[in-house]
Each structure stands twice: as structure tokens, then as C-alpha cells.
């Protein structure tokens, strides 16, 4: 029955991936994507993106700035499966190969307004010392085949990760219609 539909609400996310702090690494780019439940669907904007490659500034800040815009609107009937933004950062290693420098995920904020989020990044760890050496030498670090795994809770037992220093991603959230449920 099309008329007896559940109430739909919209969630509009405007923001940017601002900058990062990675003391040891340089020339980094980041990718973002959204992970959401089955009741959610993007209606406008891009749900994935790749940023430019940025280098550390020459001044004392040593900042890695992307200023990479995020503009997406979701519609849903249920807060379960609230969208998460998954960020993956990549950079070149000594030999020039592109390796992953960190994965991180955070939920989109619930309340309208301006929010700033600092997301810690982690990388999967090699299983043994020998594998660590060969992956360093060959440029094939352990990475996730699908970065969306980072946003899921199941199946994380048995994973070993290393965390890097937290990086900064500033998100603004403006609700187009944040009437979550229609009261009657």
C-alpha cells in the first residue's frame, strides 16, 4: 500500500575534510565514502570522493591541508544504520608505491549545527615480522579490500591494528528536514 508509507526524513551533510596530522608521512591523499544501513539512500550529492595530494607546509605548522568538500543528502525512514563516513589516507612509501597510511570512521552527527570531528586513523598490522619486512620491501602493505569494513562492528576480532596520531576532519551538518518522525 503506497499510501501507508512510513515517515521519511532527510539528512543533509555539508562539510569538508579539513586537514591531517601525520608526523612521519608526506604527500598524502584521502578518499571518503559513506556506509549506511538498508533503510538509508543517498538522494543528492556524491557519496564517494578522492582528494588531491597534499604536501606538508614549509612553515612551523607542518600542516597537511586538503579542504576537501563533502556534500551529500540522505533520506531514510529509520535512524538505525545512521551513516558513517569512512576515510582512508594513502601516500607514497620510500620506493614510490602507493600504500595505505590510515583508515578511520565516524558517525555523521545527530544534531543540526556545526561539528568538528577529529578522527584517529589506524592501519592493519602485518601478522609476523617477516611479513612486515616483505611488505615494506615490496610496497604491498596489508590493507582492506573494501574500506567499508572499517565502519562495521562485526568481524573485528582477530584484527591487529596500529593507530597513528589523530587527524582532523571538520563536518558541518545542516538538516533539510530533520523531523525525524511525524507525531500524530
Amino acid at each position: 500500500m503506497a499510501a501507508a508509507g512510513p515517515s521519511v526524513f532527510l539528512l543533509m551533510v555539508n562539510g569538508q575534510v579539513e586537514s591531517a596530522q601525520f608526523p612521519e608521512y608526506d604527500d598524502l591523499y584521502c578518499k571518503y565514502c559513506f556506509v549506511y544501513g538498508q533503510d538509508w539512500a543517498p538522494t543528492a550529492g556524491l557519496e564517494e570522493g578522492i582528494s588531491q595530494i597534499t604536501s606538508k607546509s614549509q612553515d612551523v605548522r607542518q600542516a597537511l591541508v586538503w579542504n576537501f568538500p563533502i556534500d551529500v543528502t540522505f533520506k531514510s525512514t529509520n535512524p538505525y544504520g545512521w551513516p558513517q563516513i569512512v576515510l582512508s589516507v594513502y601516500g607514497p612509501d620510500v620506493f614510490g608505491n602507493d600504500v595505505v597510511r590510515g583508515y578511520g570512521a565516524v558517525h555523521v552527527p545527530f544534531s543540526p549545527g556545526r561539528h568538528k570531528r577529529t578522527i584517529p586513523m589506524f592501519v592493519p598490522e602485518s601478522a609476523s615480522t617477516l611479513q612486515k619486512f616483505t611488505s615494506w620491501f615490496m610496497g604491498r602493505r596489508p590493507e582492506y579490500t573494501d574500506p567499508k569494513v572499517v565502519a562495521q562492528g562485526e568481524g573485528r576480532e582477530g584484527e591487529n591494528t596500529e593507530t597513528e596520531i589523530p587527524r582532523v576532519a571538520r563536518l558541518w551538518l545542516c538538516p533539510a528536514q530533520l523531523t525525524l518522525f511525524c507525531p500524530q
Binding site: M1, A4, G5, P6, K75, N78, G153, E157, N160, T161
Partner: protein, 263 residues
């Protein structure tokens, strides 16, 4: 007749399958059946199977268990088949992350977490317990897990408000696991985003066990996990402090105001 809002989530896909339909289908009846209400009705009919508590029942107790009473007990708003206004169960969404932990003496940490609720609460969607990955911080001493938590509860009473209980373990290079701390915290009761710091403790044991733990590892653990979140038998324990687990939880509530609960 105003169309009710269905509480349970529906997919935008073309098939009519209801994602929350994890309970038994309702009994068939000759009365008018609204499409897509199966899960809603099934949710309320399971109330008969549970022992309800008399203390804080949220207003569904006035509906009698007659033959076609399930028609009245629709989990939605608006008007039932008999033209009477019915009430919906209160719902709560807990959405957030276990961010990480600080202050532990060990380095590679992981966390086993679970949510305990009273008898009046029903988990509609989400996973009630889980385990994070093992994290080794390279810079600083905070282990970051960023483990997502997404739970959808329906409830008939305030008793047994959800509590998150945690066990932090450390793993050494040989793969052996050692307990680092137990902790629990209540899910906040006001809607919005909250940053929580959950302190942890670990049982000490006798001086022999402490010596053995220092040299060999291991150490005493709780036999029954419910001591973590209940205060019943705590007086028997002698414990030492562990580190702190940091969480960010957001809470969304619905229909609590119908039952006179202000939040």
C-alpha cells in the same frame, strides 16, 4: 482514517520485505489487515510470552487479551480497526562508537563489549555484543578502536535501562590474552550526543596470584559476567584500578512523552 506512521524501518527497494521482521508472524484474522504491519503486530504479540512487570508498564496493559485483540494492539499511531486510538511502544536508538582507551599499563588492547537491558526492553535491530580489534598505538598511549555501536530498542518500561559493559584485554606478541579491566556505564537517558569515560577495574586476588601475574601473566577473572554491571556480590571482591575507556554515544528517543516520561 488517518494513515499511521509505521515505526519499523522499510527499505526503499521494491520488494516488500520488512527488515525488522525477526519475530513470529501474527495470527491470521479476517479483519482488515494493513500491508506492512506484520512486524509491528508481531512485536506486540510477543508481550504475551514475556513476563511483564507491573511496575513501570507503559500503558499497553489496559488492552485485554480477547480473541481479535491483536488488531487493537497495532504498533503504530492513528486508528485501529475498531476506531480507537492505540499507543505505540517507546523506542530508543543508541548510535555511537567505542572510541578507545587510555591509562592502561599494557600496550596492545582490545575490548569485548555487550549491552544488558531489563526484561521490558526488546532489541529490534543491531548487535548486542561484540569485540573490537586489537590496537597498538604508535604515537601516544591511547589505543583507538572506533568501534561502531548501532542499536534500536523498543521498551514497555523504564526499568532495566540499557547498560554497556566492557572487558578490556591485552594481547602480547605471543598471542596470549590477559585481562586489563572490567567496566560498565549506563547508556545516557537524555537525547543527544554524549562523551562518556568509563573507568575500569580488575580483580586482584591473593598475593600469590599477584606475584604470578607479574611474572607469568594471567590473573583472576570473574566467573559470572553480570558482576560487572550489578552490585549484588561486589563486596566479596578486592580490585585494583585499570585505565579508562572512552565512548561517544548518541541517543534518539521516541514516544517516551506519550507515557509521561520527560526527556
Amino acid at each position: 482514517m488517518p494513515e499511521p506512521c509505521v515505526v519499523t524501518g522499510r527499505r526503499f527497494s521494491q520488494n516488500g520485505e520488512n527488515v525488522h521482521h525477526t519475530l513470529a508472524p501474527p495470527p491470521q484474522a479476517a479483519g482488515p489487515i494493513r500491508q506492512g504491519r506484520e512486524a509491528a503486530v508481531a512485536l506486540v504479540t510477543t508481550r504475551e510470552a514475556e513476563g511483564g512487570r507491573d511496575g513501570e508498564r507503559l500503558g499497553t496493559s489496559d488492552l485485554s487479551l480477547s480473541g481479535r485483540s491483536w488488531e487493537k494492539r497495532e504498533l503504530g499511531l492513528g486508528v485501529s480497526a475498531r476506531g480507537e486510538r492505540v499507543r505505540a511502544m517507546a523506542e530508543a536508538h543508541v548510535i555511537g562508537q567505542i572510541v578507545g582507551a587510555t591509562g592502561f599499563s599494557e600496550n596492545s588492547l582490545f575490548c569485548k563489549w555487550g549491552v544488558h537491558t531489563g526484561a521490558a526492553w526488546k532489541l529490534l535491530s543491531g548487535i548486542r555484543e561484540g569485540q573490537t580489534q586489537v590496537d597498538t598505538p604508535q604515537i601516544g598511549d591511547m589505543a583507538y578502536w572506533s568501534h561502531p555501536i548501532d542499536l534500536h530498542f523498543a521498551t514497555k518500561g523504564l526499568q532495566g535501562w540499557p547498560r554497556l559493559h566492557l572487558q578490556v584485554w591485552s594481547q602480547d606478541s605471543f598471542g596470549r590474552c590477559q585481562l586489563a579491566g572490567y567496566g560498565f556505564c549506563h547508556v545516557p537517558s537524555s537525547p543527544g550526543t554524549h562523551k562518556l569515560d568509563c573507568p575500569t577495574w580488575r580483580p586482584l586476588g591473593s598475593w600469590r596470584e599477584q606475584l604470578a601475574r607479574a611474572f607469568v601473566g594471567g590473573g583472576p577473572q570473574l566467573l559470572h559476567g553480570d558482576t560487572i554491571y550489578s552490585g549484588a556480590d561486589r563486596y566479596r571482591l578486592h580490585t585494583a584500578a585499570g585505565g579508562t575507556v572512552h565512548l561517544e554515544l548518541g541517543l534518539l528517543l521516541r514516544h517516551f512523552d506519550r507515557y509521561g516520561v520527560e526527556c
